[in-house]
Symmetry: C2
Subunit: 288 residues, 2 copies
């Protein structure tokens, strides 16, 4: 197994193709292909599923994880030796859309000062991002999963507080017995994985599912709420003046859903990873 083979594997997965990897590594696609064949011969298993996009096989995921760790350690070793100051390490991190739209932003500002790192953010639902860690796609993940992935550590960052809101007009039109008529009031979900609204309805004994719109963007979700498309659970941090200026109203007082967020990273003694962890901890003070 050779460094350049692992580098080729990581580049193929990041760029989604052999051609993209060749561009980034500044070699020919056939050189990339040869490295992968050699890697596959040395481990005796197929490591890349050739497709659009290219994806790692199970064996490939194990190798990818190793590749990322080796890259990080290599870069830090070079830096310690006074070499490779110009080469930046790619830091792949999974973050959920609502975090990226709110409390995570100052991390971008801190990263702007890191001359040795580039960020490669992957936007993934907090319930599914630990999968990216397991697969070796990312070095760290903002996740709702408190159980550390094998070889990782997890720390609680805090809670995101979600509030049920809609426009006053929509609230007025779908009313029953003084409250909202949740069997008819249209609902907005982020995507099929988003069950925040459903959990809210279940807790209130609403079994009949209301009409449902899917708007898979944090800011699009807020725009859809403001446009009166439906009601939804929105992070309190994302509501600017909406509640005070009356653009949106709470559908129930004291109703909220809290999502605990954890930061999971590999247990790797890496300066860059520690620095990222500290920046994330500082930004997370906006959480509850």
């Amino acid at each position: 197994m050779q460094f350049e083979q692992l580098r080729a594997l990581a580049a193929i997965i990041d760029e989604e193709s052999f051609e993209g990897a060749a561009d980034v590594l500044r070699v020919t696609p056939s050189a990339v292909s040869q490295r992968i064949k050699a890697l596959e011969a040395s481990v005796g298993q197929v490591v890349v599923r050739r497709g659009t996009p290219c994806t790692p096989t199970e064996a490939g995921s194990v190798l990818l994880r190793m590749a990322r760790q080796v890259q990080l350690i290599e870069a830090e070793t070079r830096a310690a030796l006074g070499q490779g100051v110009a080469a930046r390490t790619v830091t792949p991190v999974a973050v959920n859309a609502d975090s990226l739209a709110t409390w995570f932003v100052p991390v971008l500002g801190e990263a702007a000062g890191w001359a040795d790192t580039t960020l490669d953010l992957r936007v993934e639902d907090q319930d599914h991002s630990s999968r990216l860690l397991r697969q070796g796609d990312v070095l760290g993940a903002i996740t709702s999963d408190p159980a550390p992935v094998n070889g990782c550590r997890a720390e609680l960052l805090g809670s995101m507080r979600y509030l049920p809101v809609a426009t006053p007009d929509l609230h007025r039109r779908f009313r029953k017995d003084g409250g909202a008529d949740f069997t008819r009031l249209p609902m907005i979900q982020f995507n099929a994985k988003d069950d925040l609204q459903q959990r809210f309805l279940q807790a209130r004994g609403v079994s009949q599912p209301p009409p449902r719109h899917l708007i898979p963007s944090s800011e699009g979700f807020l725009a859809a709420l403001r446009a009166g498309l439906g009601w939804g659970m929105i992070p309190e941090l994302q509501l600017e003046a909406d509640l005070t200026d009356g653009t949106l109203v709470l559908l129930e007082e004291d109703a909220e859903e809290n999502v605990q967020l954890y930061w999971q990273t590999w247990t790797l003694n890496s300066e860059r990873l520690n620095r990222l962890t500290e920046a994330i901890r500082r930004a997370a003070h906006l959480l509850r």
Copy 2:
């Protein structure tokens, strides 16, 4: 081939699992499974790849496309007969992130007034959304592809104008010969598919790739630009007061990349689809 089998197929793809489909259709997972087996027996091919998520096979994509069209026609026929006013048709539409963050927002406002429709937006790069049309995943797509997908029509909506910007501080730090030093100035890309920055660099003969951050969210991209993480091509429509108040500066005067956007939909004589098309045309007046 039966209506309920096609409905089961569409629900599995939308909900990504047999269990999710069962919830939505309010039947047991085994009933969903039986419908799919019957459908597979009737066409003599596997239609769903069982996995996480479930995806359609090639034959499944053809059937999925038929399923969506039948659902729409059925809903409109019921409405014409004075039935099924309560049942809303799900309208899956692909839209690129930059459009959803800008000119597409008024479409959400119009959709709020449609009692017979729910929106199911899929955020997909404009260079790749015509694939979703071909697969039958969506009824219509905002795409940069002018060539109509088989069975679809395409109309030009206008151009999105992208400008190269960065913070004044970053611009000052990476300067050469009076202009920006694009071989060293860190660059922000939306994701691996986004080649707007690369095209800009190629047109200026920059072959050495600069450090590259990946921030796959339109609003996150703008936040990263404002935080000084790097330079990037940003839709003019997304820049609020940034250029006038000096938060961001243009890296070159009169430099721009224009992306032409088309609206592609099935050639189906459907009232709901026509209404959506009209709303999109009205919103698109913000394009150039």
